[in-house]
């Protein structure tokens, strides 16, 4: 298969029965859980195109694979977004921008790493300047493995994200709030000192 998808969580099992299928037109669900449904079917994405992944994005959002069918559209600023898609390797300098952008997104927010490089470094596994595991610095809700994944992989990721949202398992932002101390420590261990103040009061995280 041209792609594989797995969650950022260990307790999520790849199972075709469990996967949520398109239920946008079921009014009862809308009345029961409007917030979940809203988040599922209006994923406004920030495409953080760090590397080769940039090539896969244009076909996804234009006429070939029209992502807008599912309400997935790119937006201009992270303030307006709730999906953070990191496509390609992450160098140390880029990580700074990624952390800042992630912290500027309003909650709830979902992160998806696209390609092998953010997963574990991929072909840059021993590079002197590429951080290997993105989820040491910001929480990641799902991965799309492959080098490069096909554009369809993004839609598979979106479907899995629906499932995660349905099961309340897309909780990256909650983990970030909970373990903020650890994340901040990791970031500072890499960069030395960060020039922006902590997002949450450090003492609060337990």
């Amino acid at each position: 298969m041209a792609y594989a998808y797995f969650s950022g969580r260990d307790d999520y099992h790849f199972d075709h029965q469990e996967i949520t299928h398109m239920d946008r037109n079921q009014l009862t669900k809308w009345l029961k859980t409007p917030v979940k449904m809203g988040h599922k079917y209006s994923l406004h994405a920030v495409y953080f195109c760090t590397g080769c992944g940039i090539i896969e994005v244009p076909p996804v959002i234009t006429a070939r694979w029209d992502a807008e069918r599912f309400g997935v559209i790119p937006v201009a600023t992270p303030r307006q977004a709730n999906l953070f898609l990191i496509t390609g390797y992450v160098s140390v300098k880029t990580l700074k921008a990624i952390i800042r952008t992630y912290e500027q997104m309003p909650e709830p927010k979902f992160t998806v790493g696209f390609g092998s490089c953010p997963v574990n470094g991929g072909m840059y596994w021993d590079s002197y300047n590429t951080i290997k595991h993105l989820d040491k610095y910001i929480p990641v809700d799902g991965w799309i493995a492959g080098c490069m994944p096909r554009p369809e992989a993004i839609f598979v990721a979106v479907v899995h994200l629906w499932t995660l949202i349905d099961k309340d398992m897309a909780d990256g932002y909650k983990r970030y709030r909970k373990d903020y101390k650890a994340y901040r420590a990791n970031q500072e261990q890499l960069f030395g000192t960060l020039e922006w103040p902590p997002l949450f009061p450090i003492g609060e995280s337990k």
Binding site: P78, A97, I98, R100, T101, Q104, E195, W196, P197
Partner: protein, 618 residues
């Protein structure tokens, strides 16, 4: 309450303030406030009275007459009230500045002189008070030396020209009718030839147009406003310049009378029609020049000129709506321009006299009261509904449209849109945007500065939501001019060709805001973050590296700048240069050698003899 007592209080109060200043500054401040407060009370007690007092000082055996009526009261109350507010504001603004006694003396003197102008019932006392006002204004404009001195020079020269014009008119009137009593004159003039009336109107209107800064006689105003001490600039812009409006009303509708003045002159070139067009020009051009200013007070000064255009346009158009709108706009303009200048003064007071819009910014969190003052002030200046500027502008627009002169209406409306651009730049560059590092620890303005700002902001909203309150007085004035009475309600004008009902708008806006606020409350509460935590492509926004409201309207500037130079001012400057060189040439005659003088005398006698021999005229 008698008028002479009022004026005695005004002038003696001014002198006593100066004397007390020599003793202690606290006493001086207290006494100044008390005097101006007393003036407000006394004027307020005059409401609705019509009395006339005649004094014979044996001055060219001309009587000095004081009289009051609705028009005079209307101007007097705004003069005294705004004067009081500016004095209160000055208390902390002038603290620790040199020549404070002189400042207060002049402020109170100008106050009294303006009261004298509006209460004087004959042209002699009118002229005397007018001169007192002009000269003390000159002294205050050049209060801080340097550029201010030059501005004051410009002002006093043009003001003297105006006075000369007025004097000529007075002399001709005296020669013709042998009296300068306004009431008597108004009855006598009605039988005069229209040519003479045209001459009178033009000669007087030159004087008043200079004071009211109607184009092309506006050039003294920008520097004068910019350089004068800020609280006095408020008085200058709010009331003193508008004495010109009082003069216009006096000559056009009191002396000549509406019936005659509205059809002076031939055909299309009627006197009032040309005046209206001058008003329109005065609206448009200064508004667009104001857009190019980077100096807060300069920007407001150009708007002072532009708004004066609305008033002239209103009263010159000569319908009951128009005149009412013109007079009402005088009051409204006084309120919001004073408010704006006081806000600027408050900012200056805290930022060490910083006036340059490009080096201010982000002061909203530091000086909220000043910001509210600025916001309401510009809303009034634009004429946003529910602020006072809207009501008066509405009257003017409506009459312009319905009387079928859409081009004048277009000039007025487009002036408004130019105003929006420049005043939003004013507000944005001062209070919004990026807070410079050096203003991180700016404190709130002291209470004696906040009080006038709060009162004026309240007044703007009050007259905007209930314009009927002043409109009742103004309607009485219009009726006294012989216009038909307007159907004034508390919340506007009832009419079948489009009514104004501000209370509806107010209710709608209120309810709308409440509903939207409730809608806003649906979502989770927003997290407050620092001002500089912005999205700039993942990079931090550099602090103090740059100020991105510099050249706020750069694309527009590039288009319109070439057409917006103050050609008139340049012309006057050149004229002044020529005059100076000419008089230098004349001065060369006085060489100081006795021989030369003897030679002049000999030549003169020789020419006399020659003439006698040739034509033998004697």
């Amino acid at each position: 309450m008698s008028l002479d007592l009022l004026l005695i209080v005004a002038f003696s109060g001014a002198l006593l303030t100066y004397v007390f200043g020599k003793i202690s500054s606290k006493m001086r401040n207290a006494f100044g406030v008390v005097v101006s407060l007393a003036l407000v009370v006394m004027v307020a007690l005059l409401y609705g009275q019509t009395e006339e007092k005649i004094f014979y000082f044996g001055f060219l055996n001309l009587p000095l007459i004081l009289r009051t009526n609705m028009l005079a009261w209307f101007f007097a109350i705004s003069v005294s009230a705004l004067g009081l507010l500016c004095i209160v504001f000055s208390l902390s603004y002038m603290k620790g500045r040199e020549r404070g006694d002189f400042y207060y003396l002049m402020m109170l003197l100008i106050n009294g002189a303006m009261l004298g102008i509006v209460f004087s019932g004959d042209l002699v006392s009118f002229f005397i008070f007018w001169e007192v006002m002009s000269w003390s204004t000159f002294l205050l404009i050049s209060y801080n030396r340097g550029k201010a001195l030059f501005a004051g020079m410009k002002y006093i020269i043009m003001s003297i020209l105006g006075s000369v014009a007025m004097l000529i008119g007075m002399l001709s009137l005296y020669a013709t009718y042998d009296t300068l009593n306004i009431v008597t004159l108004s009855t006598l003039i009605s039988s005069a030839s229209s040519g003479y009336l045209l001459f009178l109107s033009i000669i007087f209107c030159i004087a008043f147009a200079i004071k009211n800064a109607v184009m092309p006689l506006h050039t003294w105003l920008p520097e004068a406003y910019a350089e004068a001490p800020s609280p006095f600039t408020a008085v200058l812009s709010g009331m003193l310049t508008r004495m010109g409006m009082y003069g216009f009303l006096l000559i056009m509708y009191v002396m000549v009378g509406a019936a005659r003045v509205l059809n002076l002159g031939p055909g299309l070139f009627k006197f009032n029609y040309i005046l209206a067009w001058l008003g329109a020009v005065t609206i448009v051009i200064p508004t667009f020049i104001a857009m190019l200013q980077n100096d807060a007070k300069m920007l407001l000064a150009w708007h002072g000129i532009g708004q004066g255009g609305y008033m002239v346009l209103g009263i010159a158009f000569g319908t009951s709506l128009g005149v009412a709108g013109g007079i009402f706009h005088t009051l409204n303009h006084a309120i919001y321009i004073v408010l704006l200048f006081l806000s600027v003064a408050a900012v200056q007071y805290r930022t060490h006299g910083e006036r340059d819009l490009n080096s201010l910014g982000g002061l909203i969190k530091k000086m909220p009261i000043a910001f509210i003052g600025g916001l309401l002030g510009i809303s009034g200046l634009i004429g946003v509904p529910l602020t006072n500027g809207f009501a008066s502008k509405w009257l003017i627009y409506k009459t312009l449209i319905l009387e079928g002169s859409p081009f004048l209406a277009f000039a007025a409306l487009i002036g408004t849109w130019g105003t929006i651009l420049s005043v939003f730049k004013f507000l944005h560059n001062m209070f919004l945007g990026q807070l410079p590092e050096k203003y991180q620890d700016v404190k709130k303005s002291p209470f004696s500065m906040q009080l006038p700002i709060i009162i004026l902001s309240f007044a703007i909203l009050l007259f905007g939501i209930l314009p009927g309150i002043p409109l009742k007085v103004i309607n009485a004035i219009g009726v006294s001019f012989g216009f038909e009475s307007l159907n004034v309600t508390f919340w506007g004008i009832a009419s079948d060709t489009g009514a104004l009902n501000t209370i509806n708008i107010f209710a709608a806006v209120l309810v709308g805001c409440l509903v939207v606020a409730l809608l806003f409350k649906i979502g989770p509460k927003a997290t407050p973050i620092a001002q500089d935590d912005n999205y700039a492509a993942g990079a931090p926004v550099p602090k103090d590296k740059y100020h991105y409201t510099v050249d706020f309207y750069n694309p527009l500037y590039r288009m319109i700048t070439p057409y917006l130079k103050d050609f008139i001012d340049a012309f006057y400057m050149k004229l002044a240069g020529w005059t100076q060189s000419l008089s230098n040439g004349v001065r060369r005659i006085y060489t100081g050698y006795v021989g030369h003088y003897v030679m002049y005398i000999v030549l003169f006698l020789a020419s006399l003899i020659f003439i006698q021999l040739k034509w033998s005229p004697w």
